[in-house]
């Protein structure tokens, strides 16, 4: 199940583990990504709190945790190749995997159609 936030993160949920990244639209707005600051494994994330920072040449943007959980893996490939975020934002350019907290509420996240409609309004 893949869901989206209004801050342009995507989250793909598979059982109690979820993969998080930024959307194709978001990377387009940022321009060439030059650096991604990822959280340490084991870090507790709270929904809406800072999870990572993505940097282009002239901007730094926070990436927020879409749900509560704990970081179980960070995408080390981004250290050497931050351009992956531009090339494959919703695949190889993922940021982190998190183990979701018990009973997280996904009701205010958007599905793909809703997110696309949301982007149209921007």
């Amino acid at each position: 199940m893949k869901l989206y936030t209004k801050d342009h993160e995507w989250i793909a949920i598979d059982g109690d583990v979820a993969t998080v990244g930024i959307t194709t639209y978001a990377q387009g707005q940022l321009g060439d990504v030059v650096f991604v600051e990822l959280p340490d494994v084991g870090k507790a994330l709270t929904k809406g709190g800072e999870a990572a920072v993505v940097e282009s040449v002239k901007a730094a943007s926070e990436v927020y945790a879409p749900l509560d959980g704990t970081v179980v893996e960070a995408n080390d490939k981004l250290a050497d190749d931050p351009g992956l975020v531009n090339l494959e934002p919703e695949a190889g350019g993922w940021f982190l995997k998190m183990k979701l907290a018990e009973g997280v509420d996904t009701s205010d996240l958007m599905d793909e159609a809703a997110y696309e409609a949301f982007v149209q309004t921007l």
Binding site: V34, F35, V57, K58, P82, G83
Partner: protein
Amino acid sequence: MLNDKGRSTRSETTDEADMTASTFTGAKALDVEEALIFEIGRAEVTGVDLPAPKGAKSRLGAHARKAPLDLPGLAEPEAVRHYVRLSRKNYSIDAGLYPLGSCTMKHNPRLNEKMARLPGFSDVHPLQPVGTVEGALDVVAEVGRWLVELTGMAAVAMSPKAGAHGELAGMMAIKAALQARGLDKPVVLVPESAHGTNPASAALIGFEVRPIPARADGTVRVEDVRAAIDDRVGALMLTNPNTCGIFEPEVAEIAAAIHEAGGYFYADGANFNAIVGKVRPGDFGVDAMHINLHKTFSTPHGGGGPGAGPVVLSERLAAFAPLPFVRMEKGRPVLVEDASQTRAGETPYGRLTAFHGQMGMFTRALAYMLSHGSDGLRQASEDAVLSANYVRACLEDLMTLPFPDHPSMHEVLFDDRFLEGTGVTTLDFAKAMIDEGYHPMTMYFPLVVHGAMLIEPTESESKASLDLFVATLRDLTLAAKAGDTDRFTRAPRFAPRRRLDETRAARAPKLKWEKPVAAE
């Protein structure tokens, strides 16, 4: 002139091919390619003749250096040529109009340089006996007196090394004053249009930053400030004239609001050059304000410093001024370097830097102040404001003003609406100015305006210079609107370099020269 064959020296033809022609050396006539010192220098070469050391003695203990340093040397002619060639790849205020808004690229008088190099100023040590440097202390005191008088404040801290350092100094005074009153007010209000240094300086010493929105007319309103104030707010940082080039109409009411709440008003003095001799910040309620001597008082920017950022302080903050400071007693300067030398009512919060501040900038600024006098300083402010408004008047029919309802101060802000649909961005427009022989204006700042272009012509330009500048921008604007996008998107074409790949620089930073690995 004719050559020895009597032929005309005029070229037969010029055509497009000439524009893209390459040369064997890579040079374009006066613009010569220059390698790095690490590529042309050699470890055994030196450009300085020193006597041979005699001694075989050592008191270095076990710490004598064994490894080489990899520092190449150049003989004097090589060094001169290296740096002269490099210098020719730079734009400079001496060579042309430099309309960087918020940066104040005015003429740098050479008298200032001469005065700073008088041995009595340049060749004295900061810790010589005070009796041997009274003339140097006089300079510190005299620059301070001018700053206090021009701003209508009570005191000045001279030691901050640059504008941002001055902000830090001022915010520390505010923090010390709050602490002395036993108040816990950790929040600072900062408008969204502020320089990035403002929130950064406040955050560095533990203040929380709370943004205040800018109104649609580019100003900050007292009602927005009142709405943001609660009992945790200890200070407000406001640039005035603001970063949109507007004098804040409600500044006195804003100052009163923060004072009523028990807080302090920090003013960013980056734009003081618009109002010197016209209005005194002390009269509109400022408690602390740094002054960029390298902006308002013409000390050279030097490719990025050194600056100097003295901070003037109100009666409420004067007691907290940092060490060291110069106190005048019976017409003679007294240097106070340590808390043990203070008197009642002097409670410095500490020290910001080694020694006494940017003396070499004080001498330059003093030469500028003495040259202008109070009358010349006022005229300079008026001319800066006049020139900015003239540029505005000559361009406002073609370019777009985000804030047409207020007169500009020393700089005029345009946005990029006039480029809508042309395929030309603010960046492209700026790069095309380079081809026309101009340094671009400040771009994309302030952040509250889309595609901002902030133009500060300063008082140093003649009317003829302004007229040519305006004509150039009009021509560029018309070209953009006429669809000549190549002139913009491919620019600059005639500079020593075309556009540089900043993404590549940031993705895999190469921050120093490394010996190339020898080919197999």
